[in-house]
Each structure stands twice: as C-alpha cells, then as structure tokens.
C-alpha cells in the first residue's frame, strides 16, 4: 500500500510547502519509503505468493483491488529503485535546467508521474489502470515540455496527441470487454472472458487494447513520438522516463495479453504471435539502423530504446517460458542500462552543456568516471557477456531456438552488431579522441550526481554475473503467466 501512497502524499505536500529545497527533500523521503515498501512487497511475494489487497474493504469484482505477483514485484522494485537514483541525482541537474520558481512544481509532477507508474503496476482493475496511466502521462507531458530547447514543447505536444489517442483506444477496449463480461477486475475478467471469447466484440476490444498499449510501449511503427521526447526532455526526465515508462507499458501489455486474455486467445487465436514477432524484429532492425547514423547522443539512445522494446515484444511473441523470461528480464535490465546512460549524459550536459557527439571528444580524460559508466552501460546494451544485457539476450536466443525460429536468433545477433557499431562510435569519441584545443577544463559532476550513475553502472555488472536473483524471479513470473491459462 505504502508503495503508491508515499509519492501520492508527497505531491500535494510539496505544493503546500512550495519551496524548491524542501520539495527535493520530501521527494527523496517519498522515493526511499516507496523503495523500502517495494522491497517488503517483493519479500512477501517471494515467500507467500501473490498478494491481493481490497481497497475500501469491498471485495474484488465490486471494489478495486491491488494484485501483486512476481512480475509486479519485479517491476515495482525496478521503478522505485530507479526513482531513488534519479531523485538523488536530480537536485544539481534540476537547479541547472529548471527556473527556480517552477522547481517545486517540477518535483510535484515527478512524484505524480512515479505514483502513476506504480499505480498502474500494482492495480488489479483495468479501468483503474487507465486512470493511473493518465496520471503518469499527463505529468510526463508537462515534464517533457520543461526541456530547455523549444523542440521539447513540440515533442511533448506530439506525445500528448499520440498518448491521448492511445488512451482513448484503451478506453474503447475496456468498454467492449465490460460490455461482454460486466466486470472490470482483471482476475474476474480472466474467468469470464473464455465464455464470450469467440465474439467479434471481444476481438475488436482486444485489437483496440493492443493498439492503445502499443502506442504507449512505442511498439514499431507506433514509436514516432519517442525519439524527440527522450532527446529534448530535461536530463532528469529523460533518465526517469527512459528507464521506466515504456517498461511499465510493456508490463501492462503482459498483464492484459497473457494475464487476462490468456496465451491461447492472445497468441493462438488472434494473429498477435506473428504480429509481435514481426513488428518486434522490424523495430529492432530499423531503429538500430537509425541509431547508427544519429549524431545527438540522447536521440541515438532513444532510437536504441525503440530497438530494445522490440526485443521485449519479440520475447512475448515467442510465448514460451524462455522468451517471456527474456522479456521480463529485459524490463529490469534495460532500466539499469538506460538509467545509467541517460544519467551519465545528464552529467555531461551539466558540465559541458551539450550532448552532441562532437562535443564529447576526449571525455574519458576530462570526466573519467562518467565516461567509464558510459562504457560499462554501453557494453551492457550491446550484450557483452558479464553484463546484464547478455543475460536477457541469452534467454531470448534460447526462446527463439526452442520455437525453432533460428532466423530470430540470428536477428538478435544482428541487432547486437548494430548496437556495437553505434556504441563503439560513442566510446571511440569519448575515450580515444583528444578534446578540442579550446575546450574548457572541466571536472566530474558533483558527487550527488556521480554516485547514482556509478551505482547503476555497477548494477549492470553485478546482476550480469549474479543472475540468480533477477533471472530466478523473472523465470517464476514467466511460468506463472504462461501457466494460468493452460
């Protein structure tokens, strides 16, 4: 309960106090409390199985209930963990990028965005999912619009239009499901849907939900809003959204496709199997190719995110334990990689004021620790053994081979080569080029920013070698998801 309540209480409290410094302290306290609560939940789930909590004391189909299983616990941990890193890091960066009179609004919106994402994760009710989706979306539109470049405004507006269409599609889908079943509770829907699954209404509802969530996931070709959003948003926002937002949307996709409709309907009867695999592959290849030619590093990473989403969707489409495990694992792992990378770029922005590749020359000599973090997270993004990126790709390849789809395994390899090219380009500039002669002397970013970057970079290595915890949890989550409907 506390996991969502902490940021929910913090947001109005921040506004009531109305001071930037106090706002940051409150936000930090809230995310730490939330993270602690997420740890407690994960502990409980791993011992006793899924948790249900009826809000308002009304039992499930009548009232709204929380439902947290292995998967939910893992996502909660990921999101709150990233939030702790981002908020710790935020103060110097926000002081540089956001005007003072608006800073406490900024922290307030950040808390709301976090609360929205957590609320989506924890809920067991489809309409409630929509409500919290909108809380996180509305606050993220505004947060993105606070970027210093005017293109941030345009990116935020485009995202608003696409996001609202997506949300309306989700609403239509929910309406169709309600029409045929009379319920909004996820568990109840899973029970009642098979009876009416063979109707056009349910099929259409399923299609609307898929497209609507696909927009939020940035599933190729519905990803057009994403690159500019990540490129022009304030550093803190890029890091937070880049590491969490699309992941929670992928989680929602998993919950709805596998948790409610069930494997047989989603991936058997509907052509989603082919669709997810096809679009996932296209996303991996095309976005990686664009990333190779991108010169703004933030946008390069944004395209890489579209590609990574492709991997996740691919894993779901495979519909076997290893494939789904890979997807779930990648939710967690990708948050670590992109969190580290975007935070590191935020530090670069803080010191240099630019993230264009030509301005990063010789960064390895000027900010060695930040540059080292970029190197580690970059290697992880490629999927070098010993990093987390390798673990999820390994499971994905296993899943592909299990389904007899060896071309897909080749595709994963090809995607990794493309990632190698664009990451190498970055590493080469950062480590092997000399800084421009007129470059001003600079130091590392303040410790407050540096520490979260290094912690996340280290986590990339730690969880890459020590896979029991994450892979184990992901595998159990995948088995639970696939088993429900067998």
């Amino acid at each position: 309960m506390l996991v969502v309540l902490a940021p929910l209480v913090a947001a109005p409290a921040i506004v009531l106090i109305g001071r930037a410094r106090a706002a940051w302290h409150l936000a930090l306290a809230a995310v730490v409390a939330s993270f602690a609560a997420a740890c407690a939940i994960a502990w409980k789930v791993s011992r006793e199985g899924a948790i249900d909590y009826a809000l308002g004391g009304w039992e499930a189909p009548w009232g709204i209930a929380y439902h947290v299983d292995f998967l939910g616990a893992l996502v909660l941990l990921t999101v709150t963990g990233i939030a702790v890193a981002v908020v710790t890091y935020a103060r110097p960066s926000v002081e540089r990028e956001i005007p003072e009179s608006r800073r406490y609004y900024f922290y307030g919106c950040l808390m709301l965005c976090l609360a929205g994402l957590l609320g989506m994760t924890i809920t067991g009710d489809v309409f409630n999912l929509f409500v919290f989706l909108e809380i996180s979306s509305l606050s993220s539109y505004a947060l993105i619009g606070m970027g210093r470049d005017r293109r941030a405004l345009n990116a935020a507006f485009q995202y608003l239009v696409m996001g609202t269409i997506g949300a309306s599609f989700i609403l239509i889908g929910i309406g169709f499901m309600y029409m045929m079943t009379g319920t909004l509770n996820m568990a109840d829907l899973a029970v009642r849907l098979p009876e009416v699954a063979d109707t056009r209404t349910i099929r259409a509802g399923f299609a609307f939900l898929t497209v609507g969530i696909g927009l939020k996931v940035a599933l190729f070709p519905l990803h057009l809003w994403l690159p500019n959003v990540y490129a022009y948003a304030p550093s803190v926002v890029s890091a937070f959204l880049g590491a969490t937002a699309t992941k929670v949307a992928v989680y929602a996709l998993l919950r709805i496709m596998l948790g409610i409709f069930g494997v047989e309907f989603s991936l058997g009867e509907m052509p989603l199997h082919a669709l997810l695999v096809g679009l996932g592959s296209l996303g991996v290849v095309s976005a990686s190719l664009v990333a190779v030619f991108e010169r703004n590093v933030k946008r390069m990473l944004a395209y890489s995110s579209v590609a990574q989403v492709g991997y996740m969707v691919l894993g779901i489409g495979l519909a076997n334990t290893d494939g789904v495990t890979a997807s779930i694992l990648h939710i967690f792992n990708h948050a670590l990689m992109k969190g580290a990378l975007f935070l590191a770029l935020g530090a670069v922005m803080y010191r240099i004021g630019s993230v264009h590749i030509r301005d990063l020359a010789g960064l390895g000599r000027r900010m060695p620790l930040t540059a080292a973090a970029i190197l580690v997270a970059g290697l992880s993004l490629i999927g070098v053994p010993g990093t987390v990126g390798f673990v999820s790709k390994w499971y994905l390849v296993l899943g592909a081979l299990e389904s007899g789809l060896w071309p897909l395994a080749a595709l994963v390899l090809f995607g990794s080569i493309l990632a190698l090219i664009y990451i190498w380009r970055l590493v080469e500039v950062v480590w092997f080029e000399r800084p421009a002669a007129d470059a001003p002397a600079i130091d590392e970013a303040p410790l407050q920013m540096l520490a979260p970057i290094l912690v996340l970079a280290f986590a990339n290595l730690y969880f890459g070698i020590n896979t029991d915890l994450t892979a184990g949890l992901a595998q159990r989550a995948a088995e639970a998801l696939l088993e429900v409907n067998r």
Binding site: M1, W62, V131, I135
Partner: protein, 322 residues
C-alpha cells in the same frame, strides 16, 4: 438529437475559423449532455455540461486569444488519415455487430457487478444516489486517482505557463467599463451561483451532483467575479498561492479519510470504520471525500484559469483579432 451531433461534428471538421470550432465544441458537449440526460445519466450530463461545455470552451477561447483565430488550409493529401480513420471505424462497427442489444436488461454489463450496486448499494453505503455511492465508496480509489488527474493538470499548467501576473492592469474598470448595472447584476449572480454550488456539494448523496460539479460551479462564480471586477480584485479575494494550496488541501482531506480508515484497522479508504455503525461510517466518509473533491477541483480550475488569464496581457505578437 443524434443528427444534430453529427451535423456539429461535420461543421467542426470543415471550419477553418477556430473561434467557430471552439464554439461548436461547446455546442457539441452541450448536445452530448442532453443525450446523457435522455440515457438516464443525470450526473454525467451535469458534469459534461459544466466541464465539457463550460470549462473546456473557456480554456479554448482563452488559448485562441493567444494563438490566433484562423487555421491554415493544409496541403497534405488526406489519404493516410482517411485510411486510419476508416480502419478504426471498421473495427468499431465490427465489434458492435456482436454486442448485446441496446437497452437489453439481460446484457452481461447489467447482470454481474452492477447488480449489487443497484440492489444493495443504497443500503450498504447509506446514500440513495447509486452513482455517488459507487463513485466515492465501491470505486473510491478510482475517484482518488481522478482527483489526482485534476491535480496533475493544475500542476502541469502552472509549471508550463508560470503563475506570475504579468502586466499591470489593476482592476476591471478599463476592461469592461465602469458599468454599474453589470456590477450589480454580477454580484447578485455570483451570490446565486455560490448558493447553488453549496447545494450541489452537500446534496450529491441524494440527487445529482457532488464534489466535482460543485467545485466547478464555485470556480465559475469566482471567474465571473474576475470578469466583472477585474483580475487584481479577484486575486485579492483569492490570491494565487491559495488556489494551488487548496488543491493540495482537498487532496490531503481525501487521503486523510483513506488513511484514517487504515488507522482504525481497515484497508485504505475503508469508511465503514469511521463510525460505530458501518453504514453511518460509509455515509460520513462519502461526505468528507466529496468535500475534499470539491475543494481540490475548485482550486484546480481556478489555478488553470489564472495561469491562462495571466498570459493574456502582454500581447506578445500573438494577439489576433478575437
């Protein structure tokens, strides 16, 4: 009714005059509200009229002051949008061919969860208006989320537009002239509007209405004051910093009620623990929560309106001829 709606949409698609489009949007919302009345959704009709036809249209008009009245003719071929729209429409119609008949009382939508709300709702919550009962109690957590949506919008708008009063127009006298009649009528009108707001706020458990509608109505009263007596005077009545604090206070009331339920040994938002008799507790909880909603919505609408109207003054080359 339905035909009118169709005509309105077609007109809105074709119009390049955005002022007209904004007004058409207001009409469209209003027609929808009437349609909702017809379909027995009185609470929804009330809200749609106040929010859709009222607040949205006012916001649209204040935006147009800043962004210009006419849109350009676009040069793109409409083929792609038409394909997307066509596909969407086809999917919708496809889905509806298997839907239960209109108004069928045996449809699954009415026989499962909703049945309890109708049969037991008033008894279990102590509130005769089932919509209020479901809204504030059975699905109280959704409504909490909804108040947070309002809060988010308020914060987002204030963060994007800023909250300073720009320019120095001190009172409304120059704005609409010193018309005695208008001022007197304004004062009387405001008194009635506020009285009506109070009625809606505290009568929502018996009739149509509740915190959302009341908050909007109260805000309207203050906006009328703003228009008649000028911004500076209105802000003396309700300084900006207080409108945003009111949102926070309203939300904290709601959260407080929820946490109180927890402290008394129930789950979050369990009102039945608030009094010795569970039904009384439910009723009390609903009233308190609705009050919190009213305060928060009032604050949010005021904040958003102030943020938009604060920008109106400097005429940064964006002020066309509205």
């Amino acid at each position: 009714m339905l035909a009118l709606l169709v005509v309105t949409v077609i007109a809105a698609v074709r119009s390049t005059d955005l002022f007209a489009a904004a007004i058409l949007f207001g009409i469209y919302s209003f027609l929808t509200a009437i349609l909702f009345m017809d379909l027995d959704a009185v609470d929804v009709a009330f809200t749609e009229a106040a929010v859709g036809a009222g607040v949205s249209t006012v916001l649209l008009l204040s935006t147009l002051r800043l962004t210009g009245r006419y849109e350009q003719r676009h040069k793109h071929s409409p083929a792609l949008p038409l394909v997307v729209v066509g596909l969407t429409g086809a999917a919708l119609v496809y889905g509806m061919t298997d839907a239960p008949d209109f108004g069928d009382p045996e449809a699954p939508a009415h026989t499962h969860v909703a049945k309890r709300y109708i049969e037991d709702g008033p008894r279990e919550t102590g509130v005769p208006n089932m919509v209020t009962g479901v809204l504030a109690s059975y699905r109280g957590y959704d409504t909490l989320g909804e108040v947070f949506v309002v809060f988010t919008a308020g914060l987002a708008v204030m963060m994007l537009l800023g909250t300073r009063v720009r320019g120095g127009r001190s009172s409304g006298r120059e704005a609409i002239g010193d018309l005695l009649v208008l001022r007197v009528v304004g004062k009387v009108l405001i008194a009635f509007v506020m009285l009506f707001g109070l009625y809606v706020q505290f009568h929502g458990d018996y009739g149509a209405g509740g915190g959302f509608q009341a908050g909007v109505i109260f805000a309207t009263a203050l906006i009328v004051y703003d228009l008649v007596f000028g911004e500076a005077d209105a802000r003396r009545v309700m300084p900006h910093i207080w409108t945003e604090r009111l949102i926070a206070i309203g939300i904290l009331i709601y959260l407080g009620v929820g946490v109180a339920g927890m402290l008394l040994g129930g789950p979050f938002l369990d009102y039945s623990k608030l009094a010795t008799d569970p039904v009384k507790g439910e009723h009390l909880g609903i009233l308190l929560v609705e009050f919190g909603i009213g305060v928060a919505v009032f604050g949010a609408v005021m904040s958003i309106f102030n943020a938009f109207s604060g920008l109106r003054l400097p005429s940064e080359g964006g002020r066309d001829d509205v």
